[in-house]
């Protein structure tokens, strides 16, 4: 467990609400009433509906209803070629699309059996754009959650830094969100000139932003009161529900796919996996803050180590030929045509491939029947189990506690509902 996670001041002893209620209104009888939170509620980002049963201000049961952002990602993939699925993956966790691209590309490459043949530079680029996305993912989560607790300044600071990162990604792939940057076999094109210097400068400025956010929040009484000891997820629950990522690590589970099952070139970097101790909202906040720092560490090392070379696999059956070849030789023209129209032919079989996305283990279970389209493309969305546990965590809390608890779960509709 990282040192930075030690409480900055002793945690306040929160009064049991039974006591509070007894003090305020000892004689008033309460009657359970149902309360709909969402699907259109300012704090229900991503469109989710919670049917709460409240007794006074206290929640007695919570029914979490997802599916409002279901877009048939998995079914739709079956009608697209393997390459055409990339734009759909952008829209899974839409605040870190690059990480979804990485997860999907690696799944198809695993089934193709070409994981070892991806050029090293492409692997480094994947790590770099992935970690940039992870930082923007965590910044969004922190900023939005702080804003919902009244800290609007934090939101503006976080989004300012996210904007720098999005602009950088836009330079890389031409889009802020709908990146579709990766390809099966590599990435669509190399990093732009001056990328190294720009990213380093952005990271320096982001560090300052993180310090500012820390100063605004870490000792902030209002913030701490609503985070400390609220929404505790036990380690046993995290394991039982299959929760991974920052939410899982906040309970003390030191599981990070990048560390435990290294992929791409993650085994070459020195970084730590921060974990929490209590599993409350503040732990989840602190884990995310520290993960931003660790991602910046990885980025520093990756920028130093990245080699020169091609960014796409050298295989005419997988990589699109260069345009000059396509226009000037029948062989490349046919290869281009076949890859675009029929799709890359993935040998029959099935595989499960998993990577560490912003919210935890993002898994793709894909089945091929040997044609150019997925026969099945199933996603294991990391925020699905974390959202599921809310039904167990929320009862007993106040209505107001839903806001920071839900915010720190970081449920992303696009990913959870697919």
């Amino acid at each position: 467990m990282a040192d930075t996670l030690a409480p900055l001041h002793p945690r306040r002893v929160v009064l049991g609400f039974q006591d509070t209620e007894d003090m305020i209104a000892p004689d008033l009888p309460t009657e359970p009433i149902p309360l709909n939170m969402g699907p259109s509620h300012p704090a229900m980002h991503g469109t989710v509906r919670m049917v709460l049963e409240v007794e006074g201000e206290r929640i007695s049961s919570a029914d979490i209803q997802i599916g409002y952002l279901h877009r048939c990602f998995e079914k739709e993939s079956e009608a697209a070629t393997w390459t055409q699925v990339f734009p759909y993956t952008d829209r899974l966790n839409y605040i870190s699309p690059m990480l979804n691209n990485v997860g999907y590309a690696m799944a198809v490459e695993k089934l193709l059996g070409v994981t070892d043949k991806i050029p090293e530079r492409a692997q480094f680029i994947r790590v770099i754009v992935g970690e940039v996305s992870r930082i923007s993912d965590h910044l969004t989560c922190l900023g939005a959650s702080a804003m919902e607790l009244g800290a609007f300044t934090v939101f503006l600071y976080a989004l300012k830094a996210r904007e720098w990162l999005f602009e950088l990604l836009e330079e890389v792939c031409g889009a802020r969100l709908t990146s579709t940057y990766l390809r099966i076999g590599g990435v669509s094109y190399d990093l732009p000139d001056g990328f190294d210097g720009k990213l380093r400068s952005i990271l320096d400025r982001t560090r300052v932003v993180m310090q500012d956010i820390g100063k605004l929040l870490d000792r902030n009484r209002i913030f701490r009161d609503r985070m400390d000891g609220i929404g505790i997820i036990t380690q046993a629950d995290a394991l039982a529900y299959g929760i991974t990522g920052p939410v899982g690590r906040s309970t003390g589970l030191a599981y990070d796919v990048r560390k435990d099952h290294p992929y791409l070139v993650y085994d070459r970097f020195d970084f730590d996996v921060p974990v929490g101790s209590v599993g409350d909202n503040f732990d989840r906040y602190a884990v995310r803050v520290e993960e931003i720092n660790q991602s910046m560490r990885i980025l520093d090392q990756a920028l130093t180590q990245i080699p020169a070379g091609p960014v796409m696999i050298n295989d005419p059956r997988i990589a699109l030929p260069a345009k000059t070849e396509t226009y000037n030789s029948i062989e490349a023209m046919i290869a281009h045509f076949k890859i675009i129209m029929d799709g890359i032919r993935v040998p029959p079989g099935e595989t499960y491939s998993y990577t560490e996305a912003g919210n935890g283990e993002l898994g793709f279970f894909i089945v091929s029947d040997g044609t150019g389209r997925p026969w099945k493309c199933r996603v294991r969305p990391p925020c699905f189990p974390a959202t599921a546990v809310l039904g167990k965590v929320l009862p007993g809390l106040f209505i107001a506690d839903v806001v920071p608890t839900f915010g720190m779960i970081n449920m992303i509709g696009g990913e959870c509902d697919r």
């Binding site: 005419p316 070849e325 226009y327 029948i330 023209m333 045509f337 076949k338 129209m341």
Partner: protein, 543 residues
């Protein structure tokens, strides 16, 4: 041509032939039994050891000119063309040996050296065998950037076909189709080496009645159909299996359509009827489906809702029947499906007990001893069987009309009702008090009707046709009916209820099942399994 792979599979040897007539061949290390005389290529493909080919075609002779099907046979100094080699006992064949793969790759490379970079503008792209074989068996970038040999790109070789000599890979399939199917020698190879070209034989045009089969068998886009050319990309098409309505032969076809529009008809393999082929005339039978259609019910020339039109038709017919059924006639049509005919038969004979019934059909035409029948109706056999001797000719109808024996007529299917064969001089329809028409087109018969009801065309309805051999063959709806048109049996069910008959068919299959019970000629007919349309982009068997 639709699917050479399937064809080779269907010609696979029977499961347990007599030992004396079989040979044992080891293909890629596994022993298999084949009847004597089986071609090695067919043997390999039948057991899943795919061997590519250009010039071989299951319906034609094998000249072994493309050298794409070379395989290694133990004891032979060089790889042998498997399309030209019969299987022999104790033969040991390697289809995937490094040498066999390499020579095949080299042959492909030779073929590609002078092939133009036409895929984006080529009609065959997406169902091209050269594209398929390159991606499956070669997939290496060009090693040669020499200037390609220039040949003629737009040669008008016949009324239906344009030839692009640059795209031709010299497989000679088209020459053999003309020679062996149409029995006409109209195409030839000229010149030598990389200047060799396909051309028409001196003094000839590619104008035989089976010329469009050359387009189907062409493995690349050298021969293209003028009708289909540049109208639609092949991979956008969806294929629905059906039967050609052009004549009594009943060639098995695939309807290729996209977004409710038919773009071409191609033959589907049926060894008992049309083998791999169909005639040029049959290819154009889809044209009327999209032209001049009756798209809404009409009452006295005004388009109305179905309800009103059916009410009106019911009232008119009821009044005529009440006045005297002897003066009410019904015209059947040899273009209708068995299902429509059965429904009409049930209404006219069983329920209304009418005696003045007639059979219409389009004029006789030319015929040959290959595929084309003189009877241009797809279902005269079915209509005759449903009528069971009760249907009289249109000549009789003309006589009855002139004699004033009819006041009211119900016509189901207007094709050929005014045909020259049947009624020299016009059929005097104006003698009628009431004409009710169920028809596909806005023709003279529909125009003369008091009530005209729109009928789905053959490509828009499910059903069966009976060909001249008595085979009951299934047609499938490929495109949605024009406008408000409905299938014949459905219209007749509605109309029957207006006339007090109980006919409650909900689908064509229900009519088929009942007809199968009642009609002897349909006793052994099969409706066939439910078949989803196949999008050619993902059919994977084409090209």
């Amino acid at each position: 041509m639709a699917d050479p792979t399937t064809t080779t599979t269907t010609s696979a040897p029977p499961a347990a032939p007599a030992p004396a007539d079989t040979v044992t061949v080891t293909i890629d290390g596994k022993a298999h039994q084949f009847p004597k005389g089986t071609v090695l290529l067919e043997a390999c493909n039948a057991v899943g050891a795919d061997v590519p080919f250009f010039c071989y075609h299951p319906g034609l002779s094998s000249p072994a000119v493309c050298r794409q099907c070379l395989v290694d046979v133990k004891g032979q100094p060089k790889p042998v063309p498997s399309c030209y080699t019969p299987v022999a006992d104790k033969m040991e064949v390697q289809t995937k040996s490094p040498r066999a793969l390499d020579v095949r790759r080299q042959m492909l490379e030779f073929t590609l050296v002078n092939h133009p970079i036409d895929c984006p503008i080529c009609d065959k792209a997406g169902e091209c065998m050269l594209q398929k074989h390159y991606f499956d068996w070669d997939a290496k970038y060009a090693r040669n950037d020499g200037i390609k040999v220039k040949k003629d790109k737009v040669v008008d070789v016949g009324p239906h076909i344009v030839l692009d000599q640059e795209r031709c890979i010299l497989c000679t399939r088209c020459i053999r189709v003309c020679d062996e199917v149409a029995k006409k020698h109209q195409l030839e190879m000229a010149d030598r080496g990389d200047h060799e070209v396909l051309t028409t034989a001196p003094g000839h045009k590619l104008d035989n009645p089976y010329s469009l089969n050359t387009v189907d068998v062409c493995p690349v886009g050298a021969l293209t159909s003028k009708d289909f050319r540049f109208s639609m990309r092949a991979w956008e098409l969806t294929a629905t299996q059906s039967i050609c309505p052009g004549c009594a032969t009943g060639c098995n076809i695939e309807i290729h359509h996209s977004r409710g529009k038919i773009h071409r008809l191609v033959p589907r393999v049926n060894p008992a009827v049309n083998k791999h082929w169909m005639c040029d005339e049959g290819r154009f039978t889809y044209k009327p489906v999209h032209a001049g259609r009756l798209a809404a019910p009409f009452v006295r020339g005004t388009p109305v809702e179905w309800d009103r039109a059916l009410d009106e038709a019911g009232k008119l017919l009821r009044a005529a029947l009440d006045a005297g059924p002897a003066k009410v006639g019904v015209v059947f049509n040899a273009q209708s499906t068995n299902e429509d005919l059965y429904a009409l038969g049930r209404l006219a004979f069983d329920h209304l007990g009418l005696t003045k019934t007639y059979l219409a059909g389009v004029d006789q035409g030319w015929s040959d001893d290959i595929l084309v029948s003189a009877d241009k109706n797809p279902n005269r056999a079915g209509a005759t069987a449903v009528g069971a001797g009760r249907l009289r000719t249109l000549l009789d109808l003309a006589k009855d009309l002139k004699a004033g024996a009819l006041t009211t007529l119900l016509v189901v299917g207007t094709d050929g009702v005014l045909a020259k064969d049947a009624a020299p001089g016009a059929l005097p329809l104006d003698r009628l008090e009431t004409l009710v028409v169920i028809g596909t087109h806005r023709d003279a018969v529909a125009a003369a009707a008091k009530v005209a009801l729109p009928l789905a065309a053959w490509a828009e309805a499910d059903g069966t046709f009976t060909n001249k051999l008595g085979m009951v063959q299934r047609i499938r709806a490929a495109v949605p009916p024009a406008g408000d048109a409905l299938a014949g049996w459905e219209i007749l069910s509605h109309l029957a209820r207006k006339l007090g008959a109980t006919m409650d068919f909900t689908e064509a299959r229900a009519v088929f099942n009942e007809a199968k019970q009642k009609l002897g000629f349909m006793k052994n007919a099969e409706w066939g399994r439910h078949m989803l349309p196949v999008q050619l982009r993902f059919a994977s068997t084409r090209g």
